[in-house]
Amino acid sequence: MPRSPDDLRARSGKVLLLALAGLALLAFCLLAGRYPRPGLLDPRLLSSDATARAIVLGSRLPRLAAALLLGAVMAAAGNAFQMVFGNPLVEPGFLGVSQGAALGAALALVAGARSEFVVAGSAFGFALAALAAAALLARAFPFGGWVLRLVLAGFAVSAFMSAGLALVKYAADPLRELPDIVYWTMGSLSGASWRRLGFAAIPALGSTAFLVAYRWRVTALSADEAVVRSLGARPALSRALVLAIASAGVAAAVAMAGAVSWIGLVVPHAARLMFGADARRSMPASIALGAYFAALCDTIARAAFPGELPLGAVTAVIGSAAFVALLARGKVPVAR
């Protein structure tokens, strides 16, 4: 088949550029901060200054790793959700997963949980419960195609979980508990540690590895129901599998970092713009770009101002601006 060498060269060029930009970004994220003074830390201090070493390796490095993992998982799941729903405007919290996690965390905080692992575990459990509720509800609707039913069920479950969260906030102690809940729902990696990262890493990495291995099937699942079926797949089963595994990764990431939105919605569009829609390339590209995006946003949240910003606010500001720019330039293909 005539695949032009120019195409391959252009693609390799983009991959190389992305890799180099990524390395530069990682170095920037590790060195940017407020020690010993606001700005970039001189790398030579790492050998001479024990405090600098402790800050970079003990605090910034696990936090950077957590940001990379968060961004990779959210963007991979977002790409999978958009393709499997055949809708470029959905995001991975779509089936109530994000709202469920927020309610789980809030309940744990109000119940007096002191351990961050209890809070994260409750968030993870509620996220999966929301997913299961959406799936069961979708089965119960006696009309419409599978996608429509799941979308409606996701709306209902999200709204239910949001209402639950509002009630918990209303009942929470405004001095001790409410600030924690609000802070959690805005998302942050300020408490990142290797231990906390390890807790999220297994479901998050497992979910992402599955999406990478299954990525060509994800492309096939973006086709219409009748086509997918005629290609010998069981569309409902395959789509449910992809959504469940992607959501488990999202649940782990949200349990670790709080509700951080926009990464899963906007990053897959950038990946598809650069590398084409086929998930054979857009899935790995989403993972790389999502990891970079989250790392950059978290560095801004951590180092741009004297006080820490909520990560979710930074991703929302940059993500929504990028999304509007893509929409305005006609770069988001919307069929309806």
Partner: protein, 252 residues
């Protein structure tokens, strides 16, 4: 491979009446069968049953003598490819990437298509007369170009039979003629073609046999010349048929 439906009955969930009431059709290797009939006569439902999208409540579909109901979806997808009437393109795959999806029944769940699969997809585009579209995005193609690329996706599936639902209904005469020529060429290459249409001229041009459907069952099955007799078409469609004076792209 012979494709045959025997006395199919089917009622959609919560529908008042049956969509199929004992419909039977058959097509042999190297031939094309047109299923002709008015809107709502059960053509699409019958095609759905032929490819296993719809499980009939009674009757059987036989692919080369094997009962479709006993075949796993992947095994069925290696025997018969399907071109639906409409298809939504949500993502800007290239025509080659789209045609490559036809290789899915031949690859494992976690496999990525190999160079040989990409070659097969490209040959399928060539076979459908769409090789020059390989690098174009499917959401930027015209309706006629897209139809050729969708046919290429069926060809890449490399099946002995292809089922097409109204393959020319949205096309201008030039593209309709290209699709009709593709149908004839595919049948001439030994494949079994079954397509639905309500265009008698297209059926006359592209089919060897015609099955006239009305009210969920086949009224008549036979060679084109017999089936497309004016009186028969009139009773099938409910309007008088006569020789038209306008030129048609479907002439031999």
């Amino acid at each position: 491979m012979r494709i045959e439906a025997v006395a199919l009955r089917y009622r959609y969930p919560r529908a008042a009446s049956e969509a199929l009431r004992g419909a039977s059709v058959g097509a042999a290797s190297g031939s094309s069968l047109a299923i002709l009939g008015p809107n709502g006569c059960g053509k699409s439902t019958l095609l759905g049953a032929l490819i296993g999208n719809i499980a009939p409540s009674s009757g059987r579909v036989l692919l080369g003598g094997r009962d479709l109901a006993t075949l796993a979806p992947r095994a069925a997808a290696r025997l018969v490819a399907f071109l639906p009437q409409f298809e939504r393109m949500s993502f800007a795959l290239s025509a080659l990437e789209y045609a490559l999806l036809g290789r899915a029944p031949r690859l494992g769940a976690f496999a990525q298509p190999a160079k040989a699969d990409e070659d097969a997809a490209y040959r399928a585009l060539e076979g459908a007369g769409a090789a020059d579209l390989a690098g174009r995005r499917v959401n930027e193609l015209s309706g006629g170009e897209l139809q050729l690329v969708r046919i290429a996706r069926c060809l890449a599936q490399d099946t002995p039979a292809i089922v097409m639902d109204e393959p020319t209904s949205m096309l201008d005469p030039a593209h309709a003629r290209m699709v009709a020529d593709a149908v004839r060429a595919l049948a001439a290459s030994g494949r079994t073609l079954v397509f639905s249409t309500h265009d008698a001229a297209f059926a006359a041009y592209a089919a060897d046999e015609v099955s006239l459907m009305r009210g969920g069952s086949d009224q008549f099955r036979g060679p084109v010349a017999e089936a497309l007799e004016a009186g028969r078409l009139a009773s099938c469609f409910g309007v008088p048929f006569g020789a038209a004076s306008a030129p048609s792209a479907f002439f031999r």
